[in-house]
Amino acid sequence: MINSLPPGVILILGALMLPLLPGRLKLAWMLILPVLSGWHLWSLYDHSTEIAFELMGCQLQLVQIDNLSLVWVAIFHIAAILSVLFALHVKDSVQHVSGLVYAGAAIGAVCAGDLITLFVYWELTAVSSVFLIWASRNERSYRAGMRYLIVQVGSGVILLAGILLHLRDTGSVTFNEAFWKLLPTTEGYLLGLNSPGTMLIFLAFGIKAAFPLLHSWLEDAYPEATVTGTVFLSAFTTKLAIYVLARGFPGTEILIWIGAIMTAFPIFFAVIENDLRRVLAYSLNNQLGFMVVGIGLANFVDHPEIAKMALNGTAAHAFAHILYKALLFMSMGAVLYRTGTINASELGGLYKSMPWTTAFCIIGAASISAFPLFSGFVTKSMILTATADRHYMVIWLVLLFASAGVIHHSGIKIPFFAFFAHDSGKRVKEAPLNMLIAMGICAVLCILIGVCPGLLYGILPYSTEYDAYSTSHVITQLQLLFFAALAFTVLKLAAIDPPELASINLDVDWIYRKPLPALIARLHRTGVALGDAANRLVLAGLMQISTWIKRQCGIQGRFGGNWSTGTMVLCAAILLGAYLIVSYF
């Protein structure tokens, strides 16, 4: 019976029942749901169940769990359980329901075997997750949520337009193969990007993956969500985008360049950002860049072996990334929860009162910095190795530069300014127990992946012999890490390191938050003024005509006055004459 349910539906329907349950039962239900859903998905995978039906001539495939989607299904369930655990103390049902529906929608989306199903879940992730932002219940979060919703739903609309064009071109909406396999090949095409439909689909994926210039919804909205909401948000939306890119556009060369830019530019913003959760959002953006590069390198036509390593790298990095990013957002969430602020300029010295949170945060920081024995070390290097194998020297140097940048903002800045630096004098309680347990599990998983990478490599799309712990890799990575730390020390001692200031920084969202609304307001004002002027002009003209008619038809006027008989006869003669002429034609 359970096998006839589509993926993710257990979480979605189960979440909707949540508000009806009393106290402790509700907590138990929240924790059971992701486990139940995980078991459901496993049984779908194990029995290779098919749930398919036809809708208006399109064959819909609701279950597609293969080697690629399996990685995402697994990590999405782990993320759902950990996020729920982290949010267990929250009394607000809205957040619980939206978090679980959101997780269910993301799981449904990665299992979608056709584009229509993908579209439905795609929009559901947007609509369900916005409540995690609005749940902050203030003006700022309301506005940020609105902007987030417009961008997300917009990406869905573009996706739908792309799907319809693609359907017209190919007559099919299947999404079990990359687009370059679905479409007839043409000369000089980019892998998969060879029709208007696929280009629109690519754009929709790119918005959700926070491509450069399409990215600022992420940095804008995530830090405005609730303490626990951001943890949910950090896991699903963008990694769903990475998954669909990996499935639809592997080997599309432009992704290598897009990804490299993505790794590099957010780190500059992260250095000067004061809101530590926003720093993490920029850092998230930067990590997505590495995955995007991996997808771009996965050219199975020309370089099948490197492609396998690159796509493995992307999948592994997405898996590891969700865990350490959740851990970092959790630790900053705990700080915000206890101190009421997340601005670096107001924090410092918290290791004294939140030692556990500090330790977990440092583990997350070590993982994202790719410190040996932590998760990032065994995943990111696959993408760098694939880049080097394809001899992309500039890209490789950019990625290496970005790796040093990661050490700055996530490896050092986050733990240093929150927990060390100058003592802010804040003395608070340690994070609640459920938060500590969630962070603890994340931390253990980060180390477990780092120490036993085989566990993760075993579930990757392609079998791999990759060895992250070569002497060369360990020493070069340690050199990079410690010399970056040395640079931090030198800059700090020389007082060149940018101080944490109570300020914000402009990003691309500035365009649609300042000049665009101003322009629209101005256009509106001009339009109103023009309309008024036109009204006045037309009105004045009509008035003149009406006075003229009144005058002419009045008792004194030309038509209204008494006419002489001669004039009347003349007029009648002219009229009849005219009639005669007209009747001849």
């Binding site: 700022r140 780190i267 500059f268 913003f269 250095v271 000067i272 290791y351 004294k352 190795t385 080097a388 194998d389 001899h391 020297m393 490789w396 290496l400 530069f401 040093a404 940048g405 050490i407 700055h408 060390f420 003395r427 070569s470 002497t471 060369s472 020493i475 070069t476 990575q477 340690l478 050199q479 990079l480 890490l481 410690f482 010399f483 970056a484 730390a485 040395l486 640079a487 931090f488 020390t489 030198v490 800059l491 060149i496 390191d497 940018p498 200031l501 109570a502 300020s503 914000i504 920084n505 402009l506 990003d507 938050r513 300042k514």
Partner: protein, 80 residues
């Protein structure tokens, strides 16, 4: 009276820093003792990853300082 922590003592911070310098020195020395397998020639340069990391970090921070001059606004900028 607040509890005194190990890191509250400036001498201990000095110890941490000396530890860091020592590790960096060791890592440079380590460059002599292993077989490098590289993809690009410059990876074989002496201590490449060390000084690349250092320069990358410093240039990142210096660029960001310039960037801040252009992009910094008051906290209530968008509320106005």
């Amino acid at each position: 009276m607040d509890k005194k922590y190990w890191l509250d003592d400036p001498r201990n911070i000095k110890k941490v820093l000396y530890g860091l310098y020592a590790v960096c020195a060791l890592l440079v020395v380590a460059d002599f003792f292993y077989e490098k397998h590289d993809h690009f020639k410059f990876e074989k340069w002496f201590g490449f990853f060390g000084w690349f990391g250092f320069i990358a970090y410093v240039s990142l921070v210096l660029t960001a300082r310039v960037l801040r001059k252009a992009l910094k606004r008051e906290e209530d900028y968008y509320d106005q």
